[in-house]
Assembly symmetry: C2
Homo-oligomer: 216 residues x 2
Amino acid sequence: MSSVRVHNFSISLDGYGTGEGQSIDAPFGHAGMRLNEWAFGTRTFRDMLAPGEGGGSFGVDEAFASNWAEGIGVEIMGRNKFSPYRGPMEEEWNGWWGDNPPFHTPVIVLTHHPRPTLTLEGRNTFHFVDADAATALAQARELAGDLDVRIGGGVDTVRQFLAADLIDRMHLVVVPIVLGRGQNLWQGLEGIEERFDIESTPSPSGVTHLTFTRRG
Amino acid sequence: MSSVRVHNFSISLDGYGTGEGQSIDAPFGHAGMRLNEWAFGTRTFRDMLAPGEGGGSFGVDEAFASNWAEGIGVEIMGRNKFSPYRGPMEEEWNGWWGDNPPFHTPVIVLTHHPRPTLTLEGRNTFHFVDADAATALAQARELAGDLDVRIGGGVDTVRQFLAADLIDRMHLVVVPIVLGRGQNLWQGLEGIEERFDIESTPSPSGVTHLTFTRRG
């Protein structure tokens, strides 16, 4: 059976995966880009943001960051990752990523406001689905074939899949900031450590990588 | 000027320094001893719990744990660390530590219900003081002379001294458990990282040591 994976998911010391007040001008709310700065230094993210220009680190941040795409056949994301809008889906909004998003796989967007499938360049096909975690995962597995499924965030989506015990591997990045408000990854997940082996790896960049591996 | 230090202060992944439902039978509430297990393996804590019997690790957990006493002239603790009781102070309660507590310095206990000074063996003198953080610290410095002041916890007390920007060095131990409820160290401390240099060190025991060093 293929795995369900989370990669490069940043949280603050106090567990917030995004700040308060998300909008088109502030995708992470009052957190700004502070949760993501560690990633911008890596070869993987540089290549995503400016393809072909080269550059970027090859240290431990890159070692973790680079694992995000290999073996992935589909991503499941929440509507709040896809769009800054709430309520009925704006059909002129095609995501944050331009004409050729970095996923290069089908993407399932969980939303209570489905819209027609959106096909962009580079095998990026967005399916808008109103379903619970288990149902969406079954659909994702059909699209992924033998490949793995990535849960791409945001916070609510990762939390929902964790609560349903559907995640096999999770890579978190603890950024040493105290956000104080926003969406907290740990909310409602008391005792979740019992299902995982957890490893901690610090980086010279200041972040700490945490890996959760589901116990067999 | 002497330093104000926090040592060996354990929190869960979600920031709780103690669980819900503290009582005489459960000093850390529903957290049980899970926040403290890492310490029980160290030479420093073994020696505290069973003096003279030897044993204990000499790895990174011990390297951090052993720093708690050197150069300390006084400890400030909250009433909730001293006692499981709330409200008016029970005079027959002399703390959790028996006749010869491990502090071996004067201790200031912050409480709204002062009682007469309590003198136990081994230079352990407990002064019960109803004061804010800055006032208590001034009193502590008089008792400490040239030596440093340790803020011994619990959560409310550490938080109060952090909020008042009175802490120079803080050693936290992040235990990979999600407690979900209790007292959260980070509450009300948004942005506190701006005042500190933060370093992260993982241990083979599974915990991650975080040191906060106040910027000069």
